[in-house]
Symmetry: C2
Subunit: 138 residues, 2 copies
Protein backbone atom coordinates (compact mmCIF):
# COMPACT_ATOMS: atom_id res chain seq x y z
CA UNK A 1 0.00 0.00 0.00
CA UNK A 2 1.26 3.43 -0.99
CA UNK A 3 0.67 6.75 0.68
CA UNK A 4 -0.36 9.72 -1.44
CA UNK A 5 3.15 11.14 -1.11
CA UNK A 6 4.65 7.97 -2.52
CA UNK A 7 2.27 8.08 -5.46
CA UNK A 8 3.24 11.67 -6.02
CA UNK A 9 6.96 10.87 -5.97
CA UNK A 10 6.60 7.93 -8.32
CA UNK A 11 4.44 9.63 -10.92
CA UNK A 12 5.47 13.27 -10.65
CA UNK A 13 1.87 14.29 -10.02
CA UNK A 14 1.55 16.72 -7.11
CA UNK A 15 -0.44 15.68 -4.08
CA UNK A 16 -3.25 18.24 -4.43
CA UNK A 17 -3.58 17.20 -8.06
CA UNK A 18 -4.02 13.57 -7.07
CA UNK A 19 -6.81 14.58 -4.71
CA UNK A 20 -8.27 16.69 -7.51
CA UNK A 21 -8.30 13.71 -9.88
CA UNK A 22 -10.08 11.71 -7.23
CA UNK A 23 -12.69 14.42 -6.85
CA UNK A 24 -13.11 14.52 -10.64
CA UNK A 25 -13.77 10.80 -10.66
CA UNK A 26 -10.60 9.79 -12.52
CA UNK A 27 -9.20 7.93 -9.56
CA UNK A 28 -11.44 5.68 -7.45
CA UNK A 29 -11.59 6.51 -3.77
CA UNK A 30 -8.78 4.55 -2.18
CA UNK A 31 -8.84 2.75 1.13
CA UNK A 32 -8.06 4.77 4.23
CA UNK A 33 -6.03 4.09 7.33
CA UNK A 34 -7.66 4.21 10.74
CA UNK A 35 -6.45 7.82 10.84
CA UNK A 36 -8.17 8.65 7.54
CA UNK A 37 -5.14 8.80 5.30
CA UNK A 38 -5.32 7.45 1.74
CA UNK A 39 -3.62 4.16 0.93
CA UNK A 40 -3.26 3.08 -2.69
CA UNK A 41 -2.71 -0.26 -4.36
CA UNK A 42 -0.53 -0.95 -7.40
CA UNK A 43 -3.67 -0.56 -9.53
CA UNK A 44 -4.11 2.96 -8.18
CA UNK A 45 -0.52 3.78 -9.02
CA UNK A 46 -0.92 2.40 -12.54
CA UNK A 47 -4.08 4.37 -13.12
CA UNK A 48 -2.43 7.56 -11.99
CA UNK A 49 0.40 6.86 -14.42
CA UNK A 50 -2.14 6.46 -17.21
CA UNK A 51 -3.78 9.77 -16.31
CA UNK A 52 -0.45 11.56 -16.10
CA UNK A 53 0.64 10.28 -19.49
CA UNK A 54 -2.64 11.26 -21.09
CA UNK A 55 -2.45 14.74 -19.54
CA UNK A 56 1.12 15.11 -20.79
CA UNK A 57 -0.20 14.34 -24.27
CA UNK A 58 -2.79 17.08 -23.87
CA UNK A 59 -5.96 15.03 -23.38
CA UNK A 60 -8.64 16.75 -21.34
CA UNK A 61 -9.98 15.36 -18.09
CA UNK A 62 -13.20 14.69 -19.91
CA UNK A 63 -11.44 12.60 -22.58
CA UNK A 64 -9.41 10.77 -19.99
CA UNK A 65 -12.57 9.89 -18.14
CA UNK A 66 -13.87 8.21 -21.30
CA UNK A 67 -10.57 6.45 -21.97
CA UNK A 68 -10.44 5.08 -18.43
CA UNK A 69 -13.97 3.87 -18.80
CA UNK A 70 -12.91 1.91 -21.87
CA UNK A 71 -9.91 0.56 -20.03
CA UNK A 72 -12.31 -0.77 -17.42
CA UNK A 73 -14.43 -2.50 -20.08
CA UNK A 74 -11.98 -4.57 -22.15
CA UNK A 75 -14.77 -6.14 -24.19
CA UNK A 76 -16.06 -2.82 -25.57
CA UNK A 77 -15.15 -1.60 -29.03
CA UNK A 78 -12.23 0.81 -29.14
CA UNK A 79 -13.96 3.12 -31.62
CA UNK A 80 -14.31 5.82 -28.96
CA UNK A 81 -10.63 5.63 -28.06
CA UNK A 82 -9.75 6.04 -31.70
CA UNK A 83 -12.09 9.01 -32.08
CA UNK A 84 -10.65 10.70 -29.01
CA UNK A 85 -7.07 10.22 -30.13
CA UNK A 86 -7.81 11.40 -33.65
CA UNK A 87 -9.62 14.46 -32.45
CA UNK A 88 -6.76 15.22 -30.08
CA UNK A 89 -4.36 15.02 -33.01
CA UNK A 90 -6.55 17.38 -35.01
CA UNK A 91 -6.59 19.80 -32.09
CA UNK A 92 -2.84 19.71 -31.76
CA UNK A 93 -2.36 20.31 -35.46
CA UNK A 94 -4.77 23.22 -35.45
CA UNK A 95 -2.91 24.74 -32.51
CA UNK A 96 0.42 24.30 -34.27
CA UNK A 97 -0.93 25.97 -37.40
CA UNK A 98 -2.23 28.93 -35.43
CA UNK A 99 0.99 29.29 -33.47
CA UNK A 100 3.02 29.21 -36.66
CA UNK A 101 1.01 32.12 -38.01
CA UNK A 102 1.64 33.98 -34.77
CA UNK A 103 5.31 33.15 -35.07
CA UNK A 104 5.45 34.71 -38.52
CA UNK A 105 3.98 37.97 -37.25
CA UNK A 106 6.02 38.03 -34.08
CA UNK A 107 9.25 37.52 -35.97
CA UNK A 108 8.39 40.46 -38.20
CA UNK A 109 7.43 42.58 -35.22
CA UNK A 110 10.45 41.69 -33.12
CA UNK A 111 13.00 42.11 -35.89
CA UNK A 112 11.78 45.56 -36.89
CA UNK A 113 12.35 46.92 -33.39
CA UNK A 114 15.76 47.02 -31.77
CA UNK A 115 14.42 48.28 -28.44
CA UNK A 116 16.51 51.42 -28.64
CA UNK A 117 14.02 53.87 -30.06
CA UNK A 118 11.18 55.88 -28.56
CA UNK A 119 7.72 54.45 -28.00
CA UNK A 120 6.32 57.00 -30.45
CA UNK A 121 7.90 55.30 -33.41
CA UNK A 122 8.27 51.76 -32.13
CA UNK A 123 7.40 49.14 -34.70
CA UNK A 124 6.01 46.83 -32.02
CA UNK A 125 3.42 49.39 -30.97
CA UNK A 126 2.69 50.48 -34.52
CA UNK A 127 1.99 47.00 -35.74
CA UNK A 128 -0.17 46.13 -32.77
CA UNK A 129 -2.29 49.14 -33.68
CA UNK A 130 -2.57 48.11 -37.31
CA UNK A 131 -3.44 44.60 -38.33
CA UNK A 132 -3.12 45.48 -42.02
CA UNK A 133 0.66 45.26 -41.57
CA UNK A 134 0.25 41.56 -40.86
CA UNK A 135 1.11 38.96 -43.43
CA UNK A 136 -1.37 36.34 -42.24
CA UNK A 137 -4.85 36.01 -40.83
CA UNK A 138 -4.66 35.02 -37.17
Amino acid sequence: MFSIGTLSDRTGVKIPTIRYYEEMGLLPEPERTAGNQRRYTQAGLDRLGFIKHARDLGFTIESIRALIDLNDHPDHSCATANAIATSQLDDVRAKIARLQRLETELVRIATHCDGKGRASDCYVLTSLADHSLCETAH
Copy 2:
Protein backbone atom coordinates in the same frame (compact mmCIF):
# COMPACT_ATOMS: atom_id res chain seq x y z
CA MET B 1 -19.83 58.61 -29.59
CA PHE B 2 -20.22 54.84 -29.82
CA SER B 3 -22.27 52.49 -27.69
CA ILE B 4 -20.67 49.35 -26.33
CA GLY B 5 -22.58 47.30 -28.90
CA THR B 6 -21.13 49.36 -31.74
CA LEU B 7 -17.62 48.85 -30.36
CA SER B 8 -18.31 45.16 -30.15
CA ASP B 9 -19.51 45.00 -33.75
CA ARG B 10 -16.58 46.98 -35.08
CA THR B 11 -13.86 45.08 -33.26
CA GLY B 12 -15.32 41.62 -32.88
CA VAL B 13 -14.80 41.77 -29.11
CA LYS B 14 -17.84 40.60 -27.18
CA ILE B 15 -19.64 43.05 -24.92
CA PRO B 16 -18.89 41.30 -21.62
CA THR B 17 -15.26 41.12 -22.66
CA ILE B 18 -15.15 44.87 -23.25
CA ARG B 19 -16.50 45.42 -19.75
CA TYR B 20 -13.94 42.93 -18.48
CA TYR B 21 -11.11 44.86 -20.13
CA GLU B 22 -12.38 48.01 -18.49
CA GLU B 23 -12.39 46.32 -15.12
CA MET B 24 -8.85 45.05 -15.73
CA GLY B 25 -7.74 48.60 -16.45
CA LEU B 26 -6.97 48.11 -20.15
CA LEU B 27 -9.72 50.45 -21.23
CA PRO B 28 -10.27 53.74 -19.42
CA GLU B 29 -13.73 54.26 -17.98
CA PRO B 30 -15.75 55.87 -20.75
CA GLU B 31 -18.29 58.63 -20.41
CA ARG B 32 -21.83 57.63 -19.53
CA THR B 33 -25.22 58.79 -20.72
CA ALA B 34 -27.70 60.22 -18.23
CA GLY B 35 -29.06 56.67 -18.04
CA ASN B 36 -25.64 55.23 -17.14
CA GLN B 37 -24.79 53.61 -20.46
CA ARG B 38 -21.21 53.68 -21.76
CA ARG B 39 -20.34 56.01 -24.64
CA TYR B 40 -16.97 55.70 -26.34
CA THR B 41 -14.88 58.04 -28.45
CA GLN B 42 -12.78 57.11 -31.46
CA ALA B 43 -9.80 56.84 -29.10
CA GLY B 44 -11.67 54.20 -27.13
CA LEU B 45 -12.41 52.28 -30.31
CA ASP B 46 -8.77 52.46 -31.37
CA ARG B 47 -7.55 51.25 -28.05
CA LEU B 48 -9.91 48.30 -28.09
CA GLY B 49 -8.59 47.45 -31.55
CA PHE B 50 -5.06 47.51 -30.17
CA ILE B 51 -6.03 45.20 -27.32
CA LYS B 52 -7.85 42.83 -29.63
CA HIS B 53 -4.92 42.59 -31.99
CA ALA B 54 -2.49 41.98 -29.15
CA ARG B 55 -4.77 39.28 -27.69
CA ASP B 56 -5.03 37.64 -31.11
CA LEU B 57 -1.25 37.49 -31.14
CA GLY B 58 -1.30 35.79 -27.77
CA PHE B 59 -0.09 38.59 -25.51
CA THR B 60 -1.36 38.37 -21.94
CA ILE B 61 -3.47 41.04 -20.32
CA GLU B 62 -0.48 41.85 -18.16
CA SER B 63 1.77 42.42 -21.20
CA ILE B 64 -0.89 44.46 -22.94
CA ARG B 65 -1.18 46.66 -19.91
CA ALA B 66 2.52 47.45 -20.19
CA LEU B 67 2.31 48.01 -23.94
CA ILE B 68 -0.60 50.40 -23.55
CA ASP B 69 1.31 52.24 -20.89
CA LEU B 70 4.14 52.75 -23.37
CA ASN B 71 1.69 53.83 -26.03
CA ASP B 72 0.54 56.49 -23.61
CA HIS B 73 4.11 57.72 -23.05
CA PRO B 74 5.55 58.30 -26.53
CA ASP B 75 8.78 59.74 -25.12
CA HIS B 76 9.72 56.58 -23.22
CA SER B 77 12.21 54.08 -24.56
CA CYS B 78 10.70 51.13 -26.36
CA ALA B 79 13.03 48.63 -24.71
CA THR B 80 10.15 47.14 -22.72
CA ALA B 81 8.02 46.71 -25.83
CA ASN B 82 10.88 44.91 -27.50
CA ALA B 83 11.40 42.67 -24.50
CA ILE B 84 7.71 41.80 -24.33
CA ALA B 85 7.51 40.97 -28.04
CA THR B 86 10.68 38.91 -27.95
CA SER B 87 9.55 36.96 -24.94
CA GLN B 88 6.20 36.36 -26.59
CA LEU B 89 7.99 34.98 -29.61
CA ASP B 90 10.04 32.68 -27.39
CA ASP B 91 6.86 31.48 -25.73
CA VAL B 92 5.20 30.75 -29.03
CA ARG B 93 8.23 28.84 -30.27
CA ALA B 94 8.39 26.78 -27.10
CA LYS B 95 4.71 25.94 -27.46
CA ILE B 96 5.18 24.94 -31.09
CA ALA B 97 8.08 22.68 -30.17
CA ARG B 98 6.08 20.95 -27.46
CA LEU B 99 3.05 20.52 -29.69
CA GLN B 100 5.20 19.04 -32.42
CA ARG B 101 6.46 16.41 -30.01
CA LEU B 102 2.86 15.66 -29.05
CA GLU B 103 1.97 15.45 -32.72
CA THR B 104 4.64 12.82 -33.28
CA GLU B 105 3.26 10.63 -30.52
CA LEU B 106 -0.36 11.16 -31.44
CA VAL B 107 0.27 10.23 -35.06
CA ARG B 108 1.87 7.00 -33.92
CA ILE B 109 -0.97 6.31 -31.51
CA ALA B 110 -3.75 7.15 -33.95
CA THR B 111 -2.31 5.22 -36.89
CA HIS B 112 -1.81 2.01 -34.90
CA CYS B 113 -5.50 1.84 -33.99
CA ASP B 114 -8.22 1.51 -36.57
CA GLY B 115 -11.03 1.84 -34.03
CA LYS B 116 -12.39 -1.58 -34.92
CA GLY B 117 -10.82 -3.75 -32.25
CA ARG B 118 -11.61 -4.36 -28.60
CA ALA B 119 -10.49 -2.08 -25.80
CA SER B 120 -8.41 -4.92 -24.35
CA ASP B 121 -5.91 -4.76 -27.18
CA CYS B 122 -6.32 -1.18 -28.35
CA TYR B 123 -3.05 0.54 -29.14
CA VAL B 124 -4.38 3.87 -27.91
CA LEU B 125 -4.99 2.50 -24.45
CA THR B 126 -1.81 0.47 -24.41
CA SER B 127 0.38 3.38 -25.28
CA LEU B 128 -1.26 5.69 -22.79
CA ALA B 129 -0.42 3.14 -20.14
CA ASP B 130 3.20 2.88 -21.24
CA HIS B 131 5.31 5.94 -21.90
CA SER B 132 8.28 3.81 -22.94
CA LEU B 133 6.54 3.27 -26.26
CA CYS B 134 6.96 6.97 -26.94
CA GLU B 135 9.60 8.28 -29.30
CA THR B 136 10.07 11.65 -27.64
CA ALA B 137 10.17 13.24 -24.22
CA HIS B 138 7.07 15.35 -23.72
